[in-house]
Amino acid sequence: MSEVIGNHIIHKYLRHNKKFPHVLCPGCGHGIALGALIRGVHCLGLEKDDVVIVAGIGCSGRLAVYVDFNTVHTTHGRALTFATGIKMAKPNLNVICIMGDGDALSIGGNHLIHAARRNIGITALVLNNNIYGMTGGQCSPTTPHGSFSMTSPYGQLEKGFDVVDLVRAAGANFVARGTSFHAQQLDKLIIQALQHPGFSMVEVVSPCHTQFGRKNKYKGPVDMYKWLKKSATPLERYEELEPDKREGRFPTGVFVDNDLPGLEEQYQALKQKMRGQAK
């Protein structure tokens, strides 16, 4: 699993009949997250036909079109609902949801907590860039207090969600956070998430210099990746820090690691039982 995979592997998973270039800005963190997902799928030896990518709407949602799996580009915020139907209908498929922070936490917040509560066997990637990228940089539910956006021109007054806390509290089996700067760690987190039963969520802190950086203190992609390098702190180290030293940092790593059976497994067990009774 520690094998280092070059770009030539990624090319095997791209759709070459789809017109490139892609829609992402140069330097966007979303491409790195997609790369990590592909490497994860490759490392685990999953068949393309057994992987379904269900994406929402946003820059993050556009990723699905480029990869040669079964791909479903759904409606804004609702990717998890479609994925739930697919997973229950075909429990053997590896169902992966890609969502933005606006997608997953604002319009789709209800579906996110319920997918976690249900513990359905979906792997969710929340690409958190703290902003609505595709619609031009309005604030999202993760925009930090005090930062600027098209709809918080005087500084955001609301407090942002912590995705990890939220999904953990809702009852997911596996909850982790990585960044698109720490690509190797991200590969590992995604591989773990893909192997977990039940609902697993990886938050990927992913920079949007075009919409978020521009309005805040980051001049370009390089500044944003420097910020990620500086602030992302492995969970164990983060916990040892004095509270005042935590300012400006966020923990990364695995926050929840349980093995409870997924909803689809429990449902199959129920069906077995019913069949036994019917005989």
């Binding site: 759709r15 009949n17 789809k18 017109k19 393309k48 036909d49 057994d50 379904v52 269900v54 699905a64 079109v65 040669d68 799996f69 079964n70 791909t71 479903v72 580009h73 759904t74 409606t75 609702r78 998890l80 609902t81 479609f82 994925a83 739930t84 139907g85 697919i86 997973k87 229950m88 209908a89 075909k90 053997n92 498929l93 209800n110 579906h111 319920h114 449902y267 129920l270 069906k271 019913m274 069949r275 019917a278």
Partner: protein
């Protein structure tokens, strides 16, 4: 000799909502995702009991109606015959996904047991206020199939029809019921296996490399493989080309939208279901649907007893609006009466088809009360 003798029919004393479940299971429904709302909840409750007992049935209670239809579309893409049931406010929440289902051509059945509105309205009172919402609720131009039923037996039959049309045309089909039909109990006969047709979607047979998920065909309906069966393709609510990839090239946009209309419109005679009662010589014709059609049939009988040649055109398909059948009765009737439990959502369609030729009289009620035979009779005698 007993050889060749047909098995006796199974009979049930059931309400409309139960009949919907019976019909769905006969049609092969194996996925239900929903959220409870009166007066449709019994559909969901009975599905919760029945589906886990079927070989491949899945039942899910979702967190809301948006999620319900999302899950239903997902299951449909994965090869299931999937359905949900709801009422007014829930139907409103489903509209975005209804448009998505049209766009990705996902077969599914959506039962809407109408209640009074707008908003939370009159939860358990009869109404027919969602007729135009069913036609135009989602944004954009799209064809649509909306069916209805006027008694419990028909609830069963029209649910089977809804599944068959959904699969045949790769499209969502809406079954609009009213509270009276959904909650009335009467004897129904469960058809034997050889007495009804079940249509399953056409799956591709060509090698996966050749398959184009949204390609034109003779019937306008591309074959549809279940997700995970070796045909990998992209599904999107964005306007897409034959391969399923987003496009904004005008000719490709026109091709897609055109085909989505054509695949239903070219089969209008198959899709437009109506029933005529004493229409041949009718000088006054009532056009009605749902439970109102029952009151109307009774009123027609009474009018005949009084020497007025009355008839009834019952609409079982509401959309595409059954123009041909309506034009036929208009050809000889001097007046058309359209009673309905709304402010005139269907009489508007009748007037549109009629285009000023015949007198069209609307009879409307929005107070949560039944339209009685005597009200309709009065209208017949007046014109």
């Amino acid at each position: 000799m007993a050889v060749g003798r047909k098995k006796k029919h199974k009979e049930l004393f059931a309400q409309g909502n139960e009949a919907v479940v019976e019909g769905a299971l006969l049609a092969g429904c194996n996925f239900y995702g929903g959220y409870p709302i009166t007066p449709s909840s019994e559909v969901m409750e009975i599905m919760a009991q029945r589906l886990p007992k079927t070989p491949d049935g899945v039942f899910l209670q979702m967190e809301d109606e948006i999620a319900s239809l999302g899950a239903v579309i997902g299951a449909s893409l994965a090869g299931c015959k999937a359905m949900t049931a709801t009422s007014g406010p829930g139907f409103s929440l489903m509209q975005e996904h209804l448009g998505y289902a049209c766009m990705v051509e996902a077969p599914l059945v959506l039962v809407n047991v109408m209640r009074g509105g707008p908003s939370t309205g009159l939860p358990t009172s009869p109404a027919q206020g969602d007729v135009q919402q069913a036609r135009w609720g989602t944004h954009g131009d799209h064809s649509v199939i909306v069916l209805s039923a006027s008694n419990v037996q028909e609830c069963l039959e029209m649910t089977i029809t809804a599944f068959n049309m959904a699969e045949k045309f790769r499209t969502p089909v809406i079954l609009l019921l009213d509270e009276i039909t959904a909650h009335t109990r009467e004897k129904i006969i469960i058809p034997r296996e050889d007495e009804y047709e079940v249509f399953n979607r056409v799956v591709p047979t060509m090698p996966p490399e050749w398959y184009k998920p949204f390609e034109e065909t003779v019937r306008g309906v591309p074959p549809m493989p279940p997700i995970g069966s070796g045909y990998r393709f992209h599904v999107t609510g964005l306007t897409h080309d034959a391969n399923g990839f987003p496009t904004s090239r005008p000719e490709e946009v026109v091709d897609l939208i055109g085909r989505m209309f054509r695949k239903i419109d070219q089969f209008l005679p198959q899709v437009s279901l109506t029933e005529e009662y004493l229409c041949e010589d009718a000088e006054v014709c009532v056009v009605a649907y749902g439970s109102v059609a029952r009151s109307a049939a009774y009123a027609v009988d009474q009018a005949r007893e009084r020497g007025v040649r009355a008839g009834l055109l019952k609409l079982k398909t509401l959309f595409p609006y059954p123009r041909a059948a309506t034009e036929k009765v208009m050809g000889h009737a001097r007046a058309i009466i359209v009673p309905e439990m709304n402010m005139g959502q269907m009489s508007r369609e009748v007037k549109r088809v009629n285009n000023g030729k015949t007198m069209v009289r609307a009879l409307n009620r929005v107070d949560g009360q039944i339209i009685t035979p005597s009200e309709i009779l009065k209208a017949i005698m007046q014109v």
